[in-house]
């Protein structure tokens, strides 16, 4: 829109900044408060009078959480499940997204429509049969089994987002490569994928974050510590073992640190992919 001209516009700019600041406080304030809480002594947290600023900062909560509970195991489990989920999606979904983007085959629109219908499936509807299915195959309460379950709702999303990124890569480059003697496979790997590299990274990060955050499926499909992921573990500690606030806050901060860092790095490309995919829907 036109640059600010009249006094009315300068007022609007001020209002815009006010709105942006208010929203930022609304969004980050609670997170920062939790961070602050995680660095306070437990005694300062549960006082009758809310202590806004701690008298001193301490990493006590983090240390105790890490050493006195099974939090490390939970984190490792989550890492494993997330890694496996991303691997499965990348291996099977990338080529599928490429096929959707580049080829027009019978049933293409039906399949893409099918994706939209799949999104409407309630998680609960799928969890029950998945529970039975995984139990029969012996993959219940198993990290790999959990990864397979995650791909059930993450793979369609992965293919959809990545297709959007592939669509943005011009097809002429592959035609030129093939005239130069490359096979379709070669064109795909040597030309398109490097161009869509940003999209690939953004989509993979998106899937990784979703897998890392997942609660419902993990709750239903894991029963023991061996494969439990951190969301389930943390919530369990709160509910059944009355985890003190300080350690809870510390646990939360530990687990969202990778999410925030990853998000800040790839947010620009991720935004492009989500909007491209959702708009086409």
């Amino acid at each position: 829109m036109a640059e600010p001209r009249y006094r009315g516009d300068r007022l609007l700019n001020l209002l815009t900044y006010a709105v942006l600041v208010a929203l930022a406080v609304f969004c980050i304030g609670p997170v920062l408060w939790t961070l602050l809480t995680s660095l306070k002594e437990e005694s300062e947290i549960i006082t009758a009078q809310v202590a806004y600023l701690p008298s001193h900062l301490t990493f006590d909560n983090y240390a105790r959480l890490w050493s006195q509970s099974n939090y490390p195991t939970l984190i490792v489990n989550s890492l494993a499940v997330t890694a496996m989920t991303v691997a499965i999606c990348v291996l099977t979904g990338t080529v599928a997204a490429y096929a959707f983007s580049r080829f027009n085959f019978p049933g293409r629109t039906q399949l893409m429509l099918g994706y939209l219908v799949i999104r409407m499936f309630p998680a609960v509807l799928m969890i029950i049969p998945l529970f039975i299915l995984l139990r029969n195959v012996g993959l219940l309460d198993n990290r790999f089994g959990l990864a397979v379950a995650y791909t059930s709702f993450l793979l369609p999303l992965y293919v959809w987002m990545l297709k959007g990124f592939f669509d943005a890569a011009p097809k002429e480059l592959e035609s030129a490569a093939r005239i130069d003697g490359s096979t379709r496979l070669g064109a795909m790997f040597r030309i398109v994928i490097p161009i869509a590299r940003n999209g690939l990274v953004a989509t993979s990060v998106f899937v990784a974050i979703a897998a890392w955050n997942e609660y419902l499926f993990a709750l239903m499909l894991t029963t023991s510590e061996g494969s439990r992921t951190w969301p389930v573990g943390l919530q369990l500690m709160i509910g059944e073992y009355n985890l003190p606030w300080g350690m809870l806050a510390a646990g939360g901060m530990i687990s969202i640190a990778p999410v925030i860092v990853l998000f800040a790095i790839v947010q620009r490309w991720m935004v492009a992919g989500i909007t491209a995919g959702a708009v086409k829907g």
């Binding site: 036109a2 640059e3 009249y6």
Partner: protein
């Protein structure tokens, strides 16, 4: 209708000076064309006149009133955009009448005005359609209808014909000229197409780099360009520039150039530069086959381009390229040696360093 005056208008973006010291006056019912290549600042100047952008300095006067601090909607102007900017979710009738609607004009008056404007532009059968259902030419007409319906003092056109194909462009150009003659509106028109400028404007302001190079009526700009930029920008094929030294021999000016001397008996201006290097500007149509009254150029034919009504012949004259516009059947081919007569009354002299007219 009102007049437009710009006094010392300047525009700066950070450290970049986009418009420098723009001074111009437009009389009532005049048609001013702002002509120039991309980036010369013409669209920015139009935005400043409209009030969509603020000038960094100088005054903008519409109808004698200083409007620098006046909101666009209160300047009594209308604008037609290159992209037409029709509201896609509204039918054509509402598009045209939108300005009236915003000014709370009563519905019957509004509808009557819309009907009049639509009839004038022959789009009254499209009033119920959406812009998406119209062709490019139809959208153009609707955009113009939206502009004329409020009967404003000043009309602003921002390259309105650029998005049309060649044939449609010629049709719409005539349409705009007809509208101007009929409604006697005051118009400022931005374009990079010099044919549009020549055919439409009563005054043309040629701009480059944010500076007005020359402002005059089209014929003056064509015959007496103020500098080499204007000379080269207007006219197609472009004016030829022959480098040489000016001498005066026996009361007649003579140009000594690389492959000979050219007598210029009809030359009336610029003779004060005798003895100095000059650029002689010769338009292609000033050259004809034959040797004339001693004012002739000889050269070797390089390329022959038949256009139908004439032939463009590119010659090599002593190392410099000269284009001549000759009749349809010349019989010339590459390599021919040919002599062309020069109409010395129609030439221009320029200083090779400043580019200014002598």
């Amino acid at each position: 209708m009102a007049t437009l005056s710009l006094r010392g208008v300047r525009k700066r973006f950070g450290t970049l000076e986009v418009l420098s010291n723009i001074d111009l006056d437009l009389e009532e019912s005049g048609f001013l064309v702002l002509l120039g290549p991309s980036g010369c600042g013409k669209s920015t100047l139009l935005s400043i006149i409209a009030g969509l952008e603020e000038a960094s300095g100088g005054d903008v006067l519409i109808g004698g009133r200083r409007v620098n601090d006046v909101h666009p909607k209160d300047r009594n102007i209308a604008m037609v955009f290159q992209s037409y900017a029709l509201y896609p979710t509204m039918p054509v009738a509402r598009n045209i009448g939108f300005g009236l609607e915003m000014r709370k004009v009563a519905r019957p008056d509004r509808e009557a005005a819309v009907q009049r404007a639509a009839e004038l532009l022959q789009v009254n059968h499209l009033l119920e359609r959406r812009p998406g259902q119209l062709s490019g030419g139809q959208r153009q007409r609707v955009a113009m209808g939206r502009a004329i319906v409020r009967d404003p003092d000043l009309f602003l056109f921002d390259e309105p014909l650029s998005n049309l194909d060649a044939k449609l462009r010629v049709e719409m150009r005539t349409e705009i000229k007809r509208l101007h003659e009929r409604l006697k509106t005051t118009i400022v028109y931005v374009t990079h197409d010099q044919v549009e400028a020549m055919t439409l404007g009563t005054r043309v302001a040629v701009m480059k780099g944010g500076v007005i190079q020359q402002i005059a009526d089209p014929q003056t700009i064509y015959e007496k360009p103020a500098n080499t930029f204007v000379a080269g920008f207007i006219g197609s094929p472009a004016m030829n520039f022959l480098a040489g030294t000016l001498e005066v021999e026996a009361g007649t000016a003579v140009l000594r150039h690389a492959s000979g001397a050219l007598r210029l008996p009809g030359l009336t201006e610029g003779t004060g530069a005798a003895g100095k290097p000059v650029l002689l500007g010769i338009r292609p149509e000033s050259l004809s086959l034959g040797s004339g009254a001693g004012a002739a150029l000889s050269g070797t034919v390089d390329v022959v381009e038949p256009t139908g009504p004439d032939t463009h012949v590119l010659l090599d004259v002593g190392g410099q390229q000269v284009t001549a516009r000759l009749g349809p059947r010349t019989g010339l081919v590459h390599g021919d040696e040919v002599t062309l007569a020069v109409d010395t009354a129609a030439v221009s002299l320029f200083d090779p360093e400043t580019g200014l007219r002598l």
